[in-house]
Structures are given as structure tokens and as C-alpha cells.
């Protein structure tokens, strides 16, 4: 195998002391950024970009990549402890992660998340090293019709993952879809629900909504419950037990594979992968009712998936020259400044850079795992801080974080509005999860559906005749119909029995 030599040379590159140090700097910064809600990896890389001018391209990218996947580790911490999902891909983790934290098992949740993230990341790097050129084309096969089918499937999954009433989940999801329509129509330039405000022209950002309905809404709701505020949650079981690990092993494995493949898709891959991984575990589980109330698989699966996805999102950038998300766009820009144009020729023209960056991710993931373990003990102590102190600090960090995304004071007002929405939802028993996820998927669905219809010239049968979208739609139909059919069969089988019973009586 001729590809083996450059790959091994890549390890030589990574193990140079400078590169190791920058890898460490990158993952530490990434983890911190992930913990701070709002300030995302893309903005951080933008701020740090000038620092990379003076260093070697491969060293620079190793550091920037470290920030990116380090942030995925850090993001979990706020989702679990404070119900503040910093990115769309960690929303699902909130459901069970925060429930576990309330039961005093925050350490278990964070420990399993760290292990799951490590395994997900590592599986994905191995797969990337071996399969990158083969699966790169997969990203290209996904056109608008395929995304339409995927988004539909995702929205359907949203309804199944949520807790509480199905009707309430649907109401919340519809509200999310409605919010996704705000902004200038990307097809015609027409204004929709913008009230002549340019601040709304690009629609609402994910972060103010998620921070508002989850984080702020939760804090407002807790203000009502005086007793809870007086006694901070007790922290027991800092480490995941052997039973927890055994229980999550399957979820981590399936989450990793799912995350790797969905992560390759530019746009929405990471969100869909965490959602799909969660839904898969809930469906496979013999006790699905535990989900949402502190099932450890509910943390393990999405965390493995989103980390695997963040690693595989490098594939389109490094093999096709296509940045899959905002952070990848920043890294693309950083490479350009370094005089390297990421594209199909990168692997052959600059193998040292390609393999150096890929292999640095092994080291980075190991560093993150080593760092996470002692930090878990430290972070769970946050929960021991009385709510009267913790809540105002959380609110402050949230508001500052939201401001930094677009340097917009308007977004601060938005997060407060959504905080009120979140409070009301919580008070009346609505789960905010479906709202946020439907919001994220809604814009994907609308854009892809309209693009598809333009491509098909308005002929909807086009969806069924393309192999990938056709398969996805068949899967969608199965997910909807199987329970219905099963229900019908069951009731028909019961009917004769009932008739028999009646005649007996």
C-alpha cells in the first residue's frame, strides 16, 4: 500500500515538539471556548488567526483543528450541568445529561460523554485515514432532494425523541418551524416577519434561541421554586460505574459509525447525526421510557456521534476543498493565508500537511480525554454553588456569549425574549427540545425542498426516482407506517378475542 508511507511520515510531523505544544494549546482553548456559551470555535479561530501567520502551515492547522474538536468536548459540559447547549449538535445531550445531573450523577454523564467523544473521534479518524478518498464522493451525491428527505426524517425523529405529550411536542416543533421562516427569503429576496429590521434579515441565529429556551428559561423557572434554589444538587458518583460503561458501549459504537457518515455531509451533518443516534438508541432500547429521565445511553450516543461527525467534516475540506461548516470555512481561510489552497490535490501535493493534521487528531483526542477526567471532578463542583450565585453568573455569561456571535445587541434582546418563551413552555409542560431541533431542521428542509422543486421543474416524483432520496423516503414511510400497521394488526387480533370473551359472558 503506497499510501502508508506518507501516513507514517505524518506521525513524524505530529510528534515534533512544536506541533505537540500547539496541539495542546489548541485543544485547551477549544475546551474553554466550548464551555463558554456563545463564543463558538469559528469566532475563536477568527480572533486567533493573526497569531498563525508566523508559524508553519501544518502547525497552524493542527492548533486550529484542536480548537474545533476541543470545543465539542467542552460544549457537553454546559449542556449537562447548566442546560446550555452551545451548538445545535449538543441539544440532544441536554435531555438525559441534565436529567442525570439533577439526580446527582453529573460526573457519570460527563465521564461517559468524554469516553464516548474520545471513541467517536478516534473511530472517525481511523475511518478518515482509510476511507477519505472513497467516501468524499458521498458528500457530492447528496443534492437538495437528498437533504430534503434527510430533513424530513430528522423532523420526524424530533417528535419521537421528545418526552411528555406527543401533541405538545408537535406544537413546540411547529413553533420551531415557524421561527425558521423568519428572515429574508433566500430565493426571492422578499422580507418575511422581519418587521423592517435588518437585524432579522438573515433570520434568527440558533444560539439565542437555544440559550433562551433552555438556559434562561430554566433559570427563570427555578426562581419560582424557592426551595430548590436553597439546596444545591448533591453530587455523588463522580465516575461512571462499570455498569454504566457496559450499558453505553453499544450506544457509543453505533453513535460513532452514524456520526462518521452523517458528518461528511456539508451542512447539518452533526445535528442530524446526534439526533439520529439518540433516536436509534431510544428505539432499540427495551426500556425507552427511561430516555429523557436520565438514560446514560442518551448521553453516550449523541456525544459519540457529534464528535465523530466533527472529525469527518474535515473530509470534504481536505479532499474536495469544500468547507462543511462555519469553522471549516475559517480553517479554509487560514490555509489560504498560509498559501495552501485546500482542494482535491492537497493529499498528493502536500501529504505532510494532510497527514500531519489528520494524525494530530489522534493526539488531540488523547489529550482531551486525559484532561477531561480530572476536570470532570472539578466541573461537577459547579453544581454545588448555590443557585442564587450560579444563576446570575450564568445569565451574564450567556448574554455576553450571545453578543459575541454577531457583535449585536439585538441578539441579547432576542435571548431574553426566548428566555421568557422557555419559561412559559416549562411552566405549561412543553419540552423545548422539539422547538430548537425543528428550528434547525426547518430552514434546511425549506431551502432543499425549494431547490429540489426548481431542479425537478416542479415534478415531485423526482424525489422517489433518485436512489438516495428514494431510499430515505422509503425509510421515512416505514418509520411512520410500521407502528400504525402494527397497531392495526394488534387490534384486529384482539377483536376476535374480545368477541369471544363477550360470547362467553
Amino acid at each position: 500500500m503506497d499510501s502508508l508511507a506518507p501516513m507514517l511520515d505524518g506521525f513524524g510531523v505530529v510528534l515534533e515538539p512544536t506541533n505537540l505544544v500547539y496541539c495542546l494549546i489548541g485543544v485547551v482553548i477549544g475546551m474553554l471556548v466550548g464551555v463558554l456559551p456563545g463564543l463558538g470555535p469559528a469566532a475563536t479561530i477568527a480572533i486567533l488567526l493573526p497569531l498563525t501567520f508566523g508559524i508553519e502551515p501544518v502547525t497552524a492547522i493542527i492548533m486550529l483543528a484542536g480548537i474545533f474538536y476541543g470545543a465539542q468536548y467542552g460544549g457537553t459540559i454546559t449542556s449537562v450541568l447548566l442546560r446550555l447547549p452551545g451548538e445545535a449538535s449538543t441539544v440532544v445531550t441536554v435531555f438525559d445529561g441534565n436529567a442525570l445531573a439533577r439526580q446527582g450523577r453529573a460526573g457519570t454523564a460527563l465521564g461517559v460523554a468524554a469516553i464516548g467523544s474520545f471513541i467517536g473521534g478516534t473511530v472517525s479518524i481511523v475511518a478518515l485515514s482509510v476511507l477519505a478518498p472513497v467516501v468524499a464522493g458521498f458528500a457530492l451525491d447528496f443534492g437538495p432532494p437528498e437533504y430534503t428527505a434527510l430533513a424530513l426524517l430528522g423532523i420526524l425523529l424530533v417528535a419521537t425523541v421528545s418526552n411528555g405529550g406527543r401533541v405538545k411536542a408537535l406544537v413546540a416543533a411547529c413553533l420551531g418551524l415557524l421561527l425558521a421562516t423568519v428572515g429574508r427569503d433566500t430565493f426571492t429576496g422578499a422580507e418575511r416577519f422581519t418587521f423592517d429590521s435588518l437585524a432579522l434579515a438573515d433570520g434568527i441565529d440558533f444560539v439565542p434561541i437555544a440559550m433562551g429556551v433552555f438556559g434562561l428559561g430554566e433559570i427563570l423557572y427555578n426562581l419560582e421554586e424557592r426551595r430548590r434554589a436553597a439546596a444545591p444538587a448533591k453530587v455523588a458518583d463522580v465516575w461512571p460505574s462499570r455498569k454504566d460503561l457496559r450499558q453505553s458501549a453499544g450506544a457509543i459504537g453505533r453513535g460513532s459509525v452514524l456520526g462518521f457518515f452523517l458528518g461528511i455531509l456539508p451542512g447539518g451533518g452533526a445535528v442530524l447525526s446526534s439526533l439520529a443516534a439518540y433516536a436509534l438508541e431510544k428505539r432499540r432500547s427495551k426500556t425507552p421510557e427511561r430516555f429523557g429521565k436520565g438514560a446514560i445511553e442518551g448521553v453516550a450516543a449523541p456525544e459519540s456521534a457529534n464528535n465523530a461527525a466533527s472529525t469527518s467534516s474535515f473530509i470534504p475540506l481536505l479532499t474536495l476543498g469544500i468547507p462543511a461548516n462555519a469553522t471549516m470555512a475559517m480553517i479554509f481561510g487560514a490555509l489560504l493565508i498560509q498559501g495552501v489552497t485546500p482542494g482535491p490535490q492537497l493529499v498528493s501535493e502536500d501529504p505532510e500537511l494532510f497527514w500531519g493534521v489528520v494524525n494530530s487528531m489522534y493526539i488531540g483526542n488523547i489529550l482531551l480525554l486525559i484532561m477531561s477526567i480530572p476536570l470532570v471532578g472539578l466541573f461537577v463542583k459547579i453544581l454545588q454553588v448555590p443557585a442564587s450565585i450560579l444563576a446570575p453568573i450564568t445569565v451574564l455569561i450567556t448574554l455576553v456569549g450571545v453578543f459575541t456571535i454577531r457583535n449585536s445587541a439585538f441578539d441579547i434582546a432576542l435571548v431574553i425574549v426566548f428566555g421568557l418563551v422557555g419559561y412559559l413552555m416549562k411552566k405549561y409542560g412543553f419540552d423545548p427540545g422539539p422547538l430548537v431541533l425543528a428550528f434547525v431542521l426547518g430552514s434546511l428542509l425549506e431551502t432543499s425542498l425549494r431547490q429540489s422543486l426548481l431542479l425537478f421543474g416542479g415534478d415531485v416524483t423526482g424525489f422517489a426516482t433518485r436512489p438516495i432520496s428514494g431510499t430515505l423516503l422509503a425509510l421515512l414511510a416505514a418509520v411512520i407506517l410500521v407502528p400504525v400497521v402494527r397497531g392495526l394488526l394488534r387490534s384486529r387480533r384482539r377483536e376476535p378475542e374480545r368477541v369471544a370473551e363477550r360470547t362467553d359472558a
Binding site: A42, A43, I45, A46, I47, L48, L49, P50, F53, A139, L140, D141, F142, G143, P144, R184, D185, T186, F187, T188, G189, A190, E191, D196, L198, A199, A201, D202, P266, G267, P316, L320, G321, I322, P323, A326, A329, M330, F332, G333, L336, I337, G339, T341, P342, G343, P344, Q345, L346, R406, N407, S408, A409, T447, Q451, L454, L455, G457
Partner: protein
């Protein structure tokens, strides 16, 4: 009432300036070379606003310039991204700022010369509300097809019996306008499919979802060099120096001249001495080897003309585009 508003705006300005000062201190870790010399400009950091997300070409250009210009001015020049409405959000904010040169912006010609054709009148940004410091560079659009698509020249498009599906990078962009103009003049039947930016449009061409797309050269060059994309035509008046073998649409006899130009602007009413001082700083940046290498690597053609010429060129472009789309009955957006 107006006083209260002004005060509030001033206060907000101070708060932002403080935040930015703190940011730039931590970011640039700049030495204490704060003595500005004559006059009271620059008085503290000069904020360079970018109306696009970090990582895009406008952002990268801003950062490359700020790096050198801040040395010349002797004050930090933090780049602040305020994305929204193709840059209109940042431009409107800038127009409301105190005209003292402490806030300036990298502005795209498309916002001035093309977007007004697609959006309602109130949302259009007028170049006359700003003092133009200097022009920056020209970023050409290139029409690309996938190499395995069988479309390798403009003639192939014209001869095609099937309707051509073309990707654009959004409504009111140069990508949309260039293709609308070309297709109308060359009599090619086509359907526009808007994507959210250059990279999704590129992906769609590579994946065969659409037949062609007009994309900024810098975003497509890697795939062109790798032989996966075929450049059909470029949309500038002259051939692009980086793609000397690719004909222009003008050569094929069509009146299509669409490029992405960029300029530095300050709020309207900024004193002439301040604008001159800023221009001097940017001219130093233009002359630096570091910036020139940046231009080459990003396939940008310098177009460092003075402010008056920028206003003239951009206004003329808007009028000429408006006339052409009226002539051919092209509609860029339903809100116009």
C-alpha cells in the same frame, strides 16, 4: 428626543469601543505605540467592520489590510464581524456612527450596485452616505461546469437543447446577475437555483446537481487546477490574469461585466484630513510585500483607485445593470 437618542448612541459607542479596546489588547498584544502624531486622529483603536462572517473572502481581505494599516497608523485595528443582510446591517450601523474615522468598513460593490436591484428601495444601501477611503481589489466571477458534464465552452451551453440549470450564490449577488445577464443575451434557456454562498453552489456543480454556476475565482481555483471543474467564461472586461486561456463573456459578444469590487468606507461627513490619513495607511498596506503576496494567493487583482473613482464606477455599474435588466426583462428578486 433626538438628543437623548444621540446620547444613547454615543454611550453605546463608548461601550463598544471599550469592549473592542479590551479585545484588541488581548488579541493584537500590540506594543504601546499609541502616540498618533499630529491632529486628534487616530484617537485610539480604529475598528474595521466586516459585514460578512469570519473566513469569507471579504473578511480575509479586511484582516490582511488591517495587519499592515494598523502599524502605519500606530494604533490597533481590530476586525469586527457584524454579518447580516449581505453586509447591509453593518453598513447601516456604520452610517449612524460618529464621522471621526474610528470606525471604517470593508464594503462590497455588490451591496451598492447589485443588491438594490433585488430588494426593496428602503433596504438599498447608497454609496453617497459614505466617504470612500479607497478602492481595494477586484475579485472575478467565473462560470464553471463539472469536467464530466460534457459542457466545456459557452457554445456547448448555447447549443444545448435541454434547459440549463444554473446555481447562484444567492439573491442579489454578482453570481446571480452575471448568469442572468449572460443567459438572457446569449438566448440560453435556464433555471436559477439559489444556494447559500459559494461553497454549496460549488458542491452542487461538482455533484452534478446543477449544470453550471458562477463562482468567485478564489473559491473554485483548487477544483479548476485539479481538473474537476472546467472554466467556461469569466465575467470581467478583460481576461483574468490568473486564467489567461479562459475567454470573457465580452469577447463572446455579450455585454456582461460583473466582478466583485471592494472598498474601504468611513461614515459620511468624516473630515477630509482623516480620510486622507486613512488612505495613506491603506496605501502603505497596498505597497507591502505581505499584502501583495496575499492578493496573488487569493487571485485578487488590485484595483486601488481613489474614493471619487469608486463612487463613479459603482454608480455607473448600478445604472448600467438596471438598464440591462429592464431591457431583457430580468427580475432578480420579487421584492424589487
Amino acid at each position: 428626543m433626538t438628543q437623548a437618542l444621540a446620547r444613547r448612541r454615543a454611550r453605546r459607542g463608548t461601550a463598544t469601543a471599550l469592549a473592542i479596546a479590551a479585545l484588541s489588547l488581548s488579541v493584537a498584544a500590540c506594543g504601546g505605540n499609541l502616540s498618533g502624531g499630529g491632529g486628534d486622529f487616530p484617537n485610539g483603536p480604529v475598528t474595521l467592520v466586516v459585514g460578512q462572517d469570519p473566513g469569507g473572502s471579504t473578511d480575509l481581505i479586511g484582516r490582511a489590510l488591517a495587519e499592515v494599516a494598523s502599524d502605519d497608523l500606530g494604533v490597533p485595528m481590530p476586525v469586527v464581524n457584524t454579518p447580516g443582510a449581505n453586509g447591509a446591517l453593518a453598513a447601516n450601523e456604520l452610517a449612524g456612527r460618529e464621522p471621526n474615522g474610528q470606525h471604517i468598513m470593508v464594503i462590497n460593490a455588490s451591496l451598492i450596485a447589485i443588491t438594490p436591484l433585488a430588494v426593496s428601495e428602503e433596504e438599498a444601501v447608497d454609496i453617497n452616505d459614505y466617504e470612500v477611503v479607497t478602492g481595494i481589489s477586484q475579485d472575478d466571477y467565473v462560470l464553471v461546469s463539472a469536467s464530466d458534464s460534457g459542457l466545456s465552452s459557452l457554445d456547448d451551453l448555447t447549443a444545448s437543447t435541454e434547459e440549463i440549470q444554473y446555481g447562484t450564490t444567492g439573491v442579489g449577488t454578482g453570481s446571480q446577475l452575471s448568469q442572468e445577464l449572460l443567459f438572457a443575451q446569449a438566448g440560453i434557456e435556464g433555471t436559477a437555483v439559489p444556494f447559500n454562498g459559494g461553497s454549496p453552489a460549488l458542491t452542487a456543480v461538482l455533484g452534478g446537481q446543477v449544470d453550471v454556476a458562477s463562482i468567485q475565482l478564489g473559491e473554485a481555483i483548487a477544483q479548476i487546477e485539479a481538473g474537476e471543474l472546467t472554466p467556461l467564461v469569466t465575467f470581467a472586461a478583460e481576461r483574468n490574469q490568473y486564467l489567461p486561456d479562459v475567454p470573457t463573456a465580452v469577447e463572446a459578444g455579450h455585454d456582461v461585466q460583473v466582478s466583485q469590487f471592494r472598498a474601504i468606507v468611513a461614515p459620511g461627513g468624516t473630515p477630509e484630513a482623516t480620510v486622507d490619513r486613512l488612505r495613506q495607511a491603506f496605501e502603505t498596506a497596498f505597497a507591502s510585500e505581505q499584502y501583495q503576496t496575499f492578493n496573488e494567493e487569493n487571485l485578487l487583482t488590485p484595483h486601488e483607485v481613489d474614493g471619487a473613482q469608486v463612487v463613479e464606477e459603482w454608480t455607473a455599474a448600478l445604472e448600467s445593470y438596471r438598464a440591462t435588466i429592464d431591457e431583457y426583462g430580468i427580475d432578480l428578486g420579487e421584492a424589487s
